[in-house]
């Protein structure tokens, strides 16, 4: 192991995040390297000093009162306290998906599953769409309005299918960011639940059967077909989301076939 590698991994060692094999490798390196041994000792001392010093701030009582006042009270009427600065509501950072890359050296150790990361970004995009009051860029229940809206905004043309008669109301489309790239989102509603259907290009044209997973409490139905990747995200129950996906795919089949 080189010093460059050890200098990063010794932090994971201090934090107890390293698997046994790598922990042994780092310890072996440190046993034979004064430079890294000194660093480890300094960092341990620093972590301890930081833990011992009280670095927490205490929330001011007025803040607690303001939050309390904004929540529905046990008996009193609901008091909606507006936030002092409404601009904080606006999501200027639509692409909060930070693209600051790791410096490369360290990808070797804890290599992240790309799919897992993208799923988590898809869920974040779903959450942002709900939080921002920015669910749709184009609001229309008409698929012939929503589909052309995407033209020129993306390198793919997301299929837009009206499933209103089957219980899933098309409410519009939106441009979002996932994996640091623009992605199309077609938005449906079922009762008060929102479904974001994210559509992106994939290298493979092979059909991949649907899989449903739960990430951060949201269900994701992911499938690929005709060179497109689909992620349907919602807080709907799994069986209802599966139903949505099945109906979407069936409608796609009858459209193209």
């Amino acid at each position: 192991m080189t010093c460059d590698e050890a200098e990063v991994l010794l932090h994971a060692l201090i934090d107890g995040e390293l698997d046994a094999g790598h922990a042994r490798d780092v310890e072996t390196h440190i046993a034979g390297c004064q430079h890294c041994a000194a660093a480890l000792s300094d960092y341990r001392e620093m972590s301890k000093a930081v833990a011992d010093a009280d670095l927490h701030y205490k929330a001011p009582p007025e803040l607690r009162q303001r939050i309390e006042a904004a929540l529905p009270q046990p008996r009193a009427q609901v008091v909606q306290m507006p936030s002092r600065r409404s601009v904080l509501r606006g999501f200027a950072m639509g692409s909060a998906v930070s693209a600051i890359a790791a410096t490369g050296l360290f990808a070797i150790v804890l290599r992240n599953d790309d799919m897992e990361r993208i799923q988590s970004e898809v869920v974040s995009a779903h959450l942002r769409s709900l939080q921002a009051g920015h669910l749709t860029d184009v609001i229309s229940t008409d698929q012939h309005t929503v589909k052309p809206w995407f033209n020129g905004k993306l390198d793919v043309s997301p299929p837009v299918i009206d499933l209103t008669t089957q219980g899933f109301t098309l409410i519009g489309g939106r441009l979002d960011y996932v994996d640091a790239r623009p992605i199309g989102a077609v938005v449906y509603r079922r009762r008060q639940h929102v479904i974001n259907l994210f559509v992106a290009q994939t290298a493979s044209t092979e059909r991949r059967a649907a899989k449903i997973e739960t990430v951060q409490g949201f269900n994701i139905r992911h499938w690929s077909d005709h060179g497109l990747n689909y992620w349907a995200v919602s807080d709907l129950a799994k069986d209802e989301l599966a139903d949505f996906g099945d109906k979407f795919e069936a409608a796609m089949g009858s459209n193209t076939g």
Partner: protein, 186 residues
């Protein structure tokens, strides 16, 4: 077209209070380090709690603290964006303790006592506040909020490898700053 909270009942509010309010100090602490300004931190935390309450119906995990932090971080990023577009408004970018605290103390203490003094809360806060944004965020989530690498990765929306590299950079920068301070004392 925001989703209307389906149930604003007192019962929901009671459950939310019990689940989320215990983390108010933690949330405020994170906002203070991210925004480096007390008034902005208060606004951000209030906005975070209102959003969290609105979406509490769909909350099914992860742990409450990282869930709140993820919302809070998004609120803070909107605040960064606001600052970026209004360069004329003076931004308090220095922790208030830095103004009063001298860089070092004139003392007749033993070197050991000076060593301890160097790591007092104000000094550490000042050094942490001086870190650049992504490093400060990672450091605070790990060292002050005790989140795991995986939780930090989720809150900051980056891969775990990025968390590791940022944390290594953050600690290396703090270590250099600390050594520089010691040089000044001598």
């Amino acid at each position: 077209m925001p989703v209307k909270a389906s149930d604003d009942s007192p019962e929901k509010a009671r459950r939310f209070r019990e689940a989320a309010l215990p983390y108010l100090d933690d949330a405020y602490t994170l906002a203070r380090y991210l925004l480096r300004n007390a008034a902005d931190a208060e606004d951000a935390v209030q906005e975070c709690y209102l959003r969290a309450f609105k979406h509490f119906d769909s909350y099914r995990g992860p742990a409450m603290k990282p869930w709140l932090f993820a919302i809070l971080r998004n609120v803070c990023r909107a605040e960064y964006a606001r600052r970026a577009t209004t360069p004329t408004s003076a931004i308090e970018d220095v922790p208030e303790s830095a103004e009063q605290a001298p860089l070092w103390h004139e003392t007749q203490e033993t070197p050991e006592a000076q060593m301890l003094r160097r790591w007092d809360s104000d000094t550490i806060r000042r050094l942490v506040a001086a870190l650049a944004e992504p490093f400060r965020e990672t450091f605070v989530l790990r060292e002050i909020q005790n989140l795991s690498y995986r939780e930090i990765a989720n809150v900051a929306e980056v891969p775990v490898g990025t968390v590791m590299s940022r944390l290594a950079r953050a600690r290396a920068m703090l270590r250099s700053a600390w050594m520089a301070e010691q040089e000044q004392v001598k």
